[in-house]
């Protein structure tokens, strides 16, 4: 089951696109210094490369922090499960229109191949480039702490890894086109939303909770002592308040004027015996002392065999809302 889901957080998207831009830019300026073409001019290329490299390092520090705080680093734990199936998919299945062998969910954003490649990128390629780059910088800006005698080897490694970066970018951009449609993945990385697989049961649960919260029918729940434990916003609105504290933890009797108390007690008795009530029209006592009419439903809450409370919905009758 697929649902439109918010899978890339704002920071994650900012990080991804900034990093992409910085790397492309570092390539452009780096290979200009390497002598492959003239674009910005050597002096500007050096200044830009040095500035962009510091920016990239700062960005990556933030990104590492984010990965650990959000636990997203787990996305990169390598797995051998389905790795063959995934490889087979890219080699043959994709041509036959076969379905993706693994499912993208909020918890597994990357397929096993992606995991492996991103992990390698993050643990080998990036560190290699950053470390050689920093050694290079410390050669340019000599200090007493780090003294680099000669930078030939460092520069050669730095250049070679830069080539690997280009290869990665080519493959990476191509693989983004293997989603649902060629642009699906890119769009997702821009907006954060993508239609991904969800667990139907889980979805059902989360959805019901949301439905109650958002419903324009009032919802309430009492415990076995007749104390109000929960109400939703629509319920509070019908009682003309927006502060739940006025009712939560209070006996349910405060929702009726003295003349209606007997009827209320009657309903509670019925429900605690195990019966359900529905369609009953009653008059409520609102928070500001005014009165209103609604129909209610009430049914018992079970904990195993024993009844522990009562809940239900109320629908307002006093000022019906016309659809606009």
């Amino acid at each position: 089951m697929k649902r439109n889901t918010y899978i890339y957080q704002a920071f994650e998207r900012f990080w991804h696109w900034s990093q992409a831009a910085l790397i492309l830019f570092l390539m452009l300026t780096g290979f200009e210094m390497h002598g492959n073409y003239q674009l910005l001019g050597f002096e500007a290329a050096v200044l830009w490369h040095n500035l962009a490299s510091i920016a990239l390092i700062v960005l990556i520090i933030f990104a590492i922090f984010w990965h650990f705080v959000t636990g997203e680093w787990r996305q990169y734990i390598p797995t051998t499960r389905f790795i063959k199936a995934q490889a087979a998919y890219y080699l043959t299945g994709i041509f036959k229109g076969a379905p993706h062998p693994t499912h993208k969910t909020v918890y597994t954003k990357f397929n096993p191949l992606q995991r492996l490649i991103y992990l390698g990128l993050k643990t080998v390629i990036f560190p290699a480039q950053i470390i050689t780059g920093l050694i290079y910088l410390s050669f340019l800006y000599p200090s007493d702490i780090i003294q680099v005698e000669s930078h030939g080897t460092i520069a050669i490694i730095h250049t070679f890894v830069a080539f690997l970066f280009i290869a990665f970018v080519i493959a990476h951009i191509y693989l983004t086109t293997t989603g649902e449609t060629p642009l699906t993945s890119i769009k997702a990385m821009i907006t954060g939303w993508e239609s991904v697989d969800v667990d139907p049961e889980q979805f059902q649960k989360e959805h019901s909770v949301q439905a109650v919260k958002d419903s324009s029918a009032g919802y309430y729940r009492l415990n076995i002592d007749g104390i109000i434990e929960d109400v939703n916003d629509a319920w509070l609105k019908m009682y003309r308040t927006d502060q739940a504290e006025h009712y939560l933890g209070k006996p349910v009797s405060i929702t009726r004027c003295p003349t209606e108390q007997a009827q209320l007690q009657n309903i509670i008795n019925q429900v605690f015996k195990g019966n359900s009530v529905s369609g009953l029209k009653v008059t409520r006592l609102c928070f500001d002392g005014s009165k209103g009419e609604h129909v209610l439903t009430a049914n018992p809450i079970f904990d195993g065999d024993s009844i522990v409370g009562m809940e239900g919905f109320i629908i307002d009758l006093s000022n019906p809302n016309q659809p606009s």
Binding site: A10, R13, F14, W17, S18, A21, M33, H34, G35, Q38, G41, F42, E43, A44, V46, L47, W48, L51, A52, A55, Y90, I94, F95, K96, G97, L140, Y141, P142, S150, H151, G152, A155, I156, T159, F160, A162, F163, L164, I166, A167, I170, A171, Y174, T177, I190, T191, G192, W193
Partner: protein, 542 residues
């Protein structure tokens, strides 16, 4: 409906926010580089020390001692020394007088070496040719190896202190001016009016230094390439320091002098890292707004970028082939050929020359110490002989890259003994080459004069001599840009003992890297072609 609309506007704003967050750092970075780093070029030169102010000396025309009719230049010197009674001692310490300095040879001996006895690859050596060469000595009468260096009255004060431009030493007069009118190479020389000159002396001007230093090698700009008579009157384009529309400086503003010891030394003859002048005498150590340029100065001398070319007005001699000298016309007159600019390119007395103007320097590592070819040192005829190898390398931390002029010449050597010969060139005697054009006689006489044996067989060996370039500093706009060195065909393509970004690469790894990129491009292309084809296939079969 309402809900849906809200959600899409929310998304729109969030994506817009993302773009803003992505763009902002780039805009700031652009501003930083364009306006703070690149645009912030130095607008003015800041000096840590101003050029020296000329002192107004006493009016020498008031001194009765100078109001006499001097017969000889020595009498003038005696008059000078009458008041300046310690000056002769000062002058006699200087290499302007001794033409020699202490030099440590390869085997560790300290010897006296200087213009007096060193060889170069222009007119080779002084010994036996004195009267011609010593016309640039600050003395009178050094006509052979018997000159007495302790005679104070033989010091020539006027050549440096004349302010009238009327005092001239005769080119072959062993340091003396003429006593009657003579001409040399078409130029007239008159006996100086010593009374007038002595009453008008002053601190040395460009003209005084230039009288010898502009014409080293026997003509304007022949030797140095960066020191020539045009410096008396140039524009900033040629020399920002000496130009009238530049700093308007004269030689002694940088070559500061104490007790007649003039600072600065040239490594065509100097060897030790002492008494050097650098730009940092007046300029700060960090003159560039771009810190990376300042960092370059650890291994690159200022001159390297700031003197992009030398010999900007008159040409300088680049090569000299002595082996062709001596060809005469059928009527035994001398052959003289000139190029279109008027530079002599062949002369019977000297052989073939090449000249060049606006020359791009060559570059060397230099740590301040130079070796020298010393008379008697062995030579290898199969290799080019380096007459004054500048010491230094990338690995030697004290070394910096400097610009140099390299003068290449075929010069005479003793084939069997395998050492250079100081040929006897000048003189009216029976052996001088410039009179008789006979290398055998000239070699024998020259070898004897230097105390070396001559085997009887001479030949010519390729040599080069390195002249550091320090003058003709160009305006800032003309200094080298990065790419002139950071490039595979750049100016430093011969200094290969270190990795230079932009010039150097690991050819193999570069090829592998490009290979990997090509493979991934090919892979991606094939994959997408199959994808597209199989998709349309599937669409058809459906």
């Amino acid at each position: 409906m309402n809900l849906f609309k809200n959600q899409s506007t929310a998304r729109f704003w969030s994506v817009l926010g993302l773009f803003a967050a992505l763009l902002l750092p780039w805009i700031l970075g652009y501003y930083y580089i364009q306006h703070i780093r690149l645009n912030n070029k130095a607008k003015e030169v800041t000096l840590i020390r101003e050029p020296s102010q000329k002192k107004q000396g006493p009016d020498h025309s008031q001194y009765s001692l100078l109001q006499q009719d001097f017969e000889t230049p020595e009498q003038v010197t005696e008059a000078c020394l009458y008041c300046h009674n310690t000056t002769a001692q000062e002058v006699m310490q200087t290499s302007h007088w001794t033409w020699s300095r202490e030099y440590v040879t390869d085997n560790g001996d300290t010897i006296q070496l200087g213009k007096k006895n060193i060889l170069n690859n222009f007119c080779i050596g002084i010994q036996s040719n004195e009267p011609r060469c010593t016309s640039c000595h600050i003395g009178y009468g050094w006509k052979d190896d018997g000159f007495d260096f302790s005679q104070e009255r033989k010091i020539d004060c006027l050549v440096c202190h004349d302010q009238t431009d009327t005092y001239k030493k005769f080119p072959s007069g062993a340091g003396y001016p003429v006593t009657e009118k003579k001409t040399s190479a078409g130029e007239a020389f008159l006996p100086p009016d010593y009374r007038y000159i002595a009453q008008n002396i002053g601190s040395p001007r460009i003209e005084n230094c230039g009288a010898c230093h502009f014409v080293g090698g026997g003509g304007n700009n022949v030797k140095h390439g960066d020191i020539a008579s045009e410096l008396k009157d140039v524009t900033r384009d040629v020399d920002v320091h000496m130009a009238d529309d530049g700093a308007g400086m004269s030689c002694v503003d940088c070559h500061r002098t104490e007790e007649h010891a003039i600072s600065g030394s040239l490594y065509s003859i100097a060897s030790q890292d002492t008494n050097r002048i650098g730009c940092s005498g007046c300029h700060s150590a960090n003159p560039h707004p771009n810190e990376i340029l300042n960092l370059h100065s650890a291994r690159v001398d200022c001159q390297t970028c700031h003197i992009p070319e030398y010999a900007k007005v008159s040409a300088t001699k680049m090569s000299w082939d002595w082996s062709t000298a001596g060809k005469l016309n059928p009527d035994s007159s001398m052959v003289v050929k000139k190029d279109t600019m008027g530079n002599i390119i062949y002369h019977s007395m000297k052989g073939d020359f090449t000249w060049a103007k606006n020359v791009e320097p060559e570059y060397r590592w230099f740590n301040g110490i130079a070796d020298h070819y010393v008379l008697g040192d062995p030579v290898n005829p199969n290799e080019t002989l380096n007459m004054n190898p500048l010491q230094g390398s990338y690995a030697d931390k004290r070394s910096k890259i400097i610009p140099v002029k390299v003068h290449r010449a075929n010069i005479i050597y003793d084939v069997q003994n395998e050492y250079l010969i100081n040929p006897h060139l000048f003189g009216k005697d029976s052996t001088a080459f410039w009179t008789h054009f006979d290398w055998q006689k000239a070699a024998k006489a020259g070898a004897e004069a230097t105390g070396l044996a001559y085997s009887g067989e001479y030949g010519f060996i390729a040599s080069e001599m390195t002249w550091p370039i320090n003058h003709m500093v160009a305006p800032r706009e003309q200094s080298l840009t990065c790419i002139e060195c950071h490039d595979s065909n750049g100016r430093l393509s011969e200094l290969t003992d270190f990795y230079l970004i932009g010039r150097d690469r690991h050819a193999m790894l570069d090829r592998i890297g490009i290979g990997i990129i090509l493979l991934s491009l090919i892979g991606v292309t094939i994959h997408s072609i199959i994808r597209i084809l199989s998709k349309s296939n599937r669409a058809q079969t459906k």
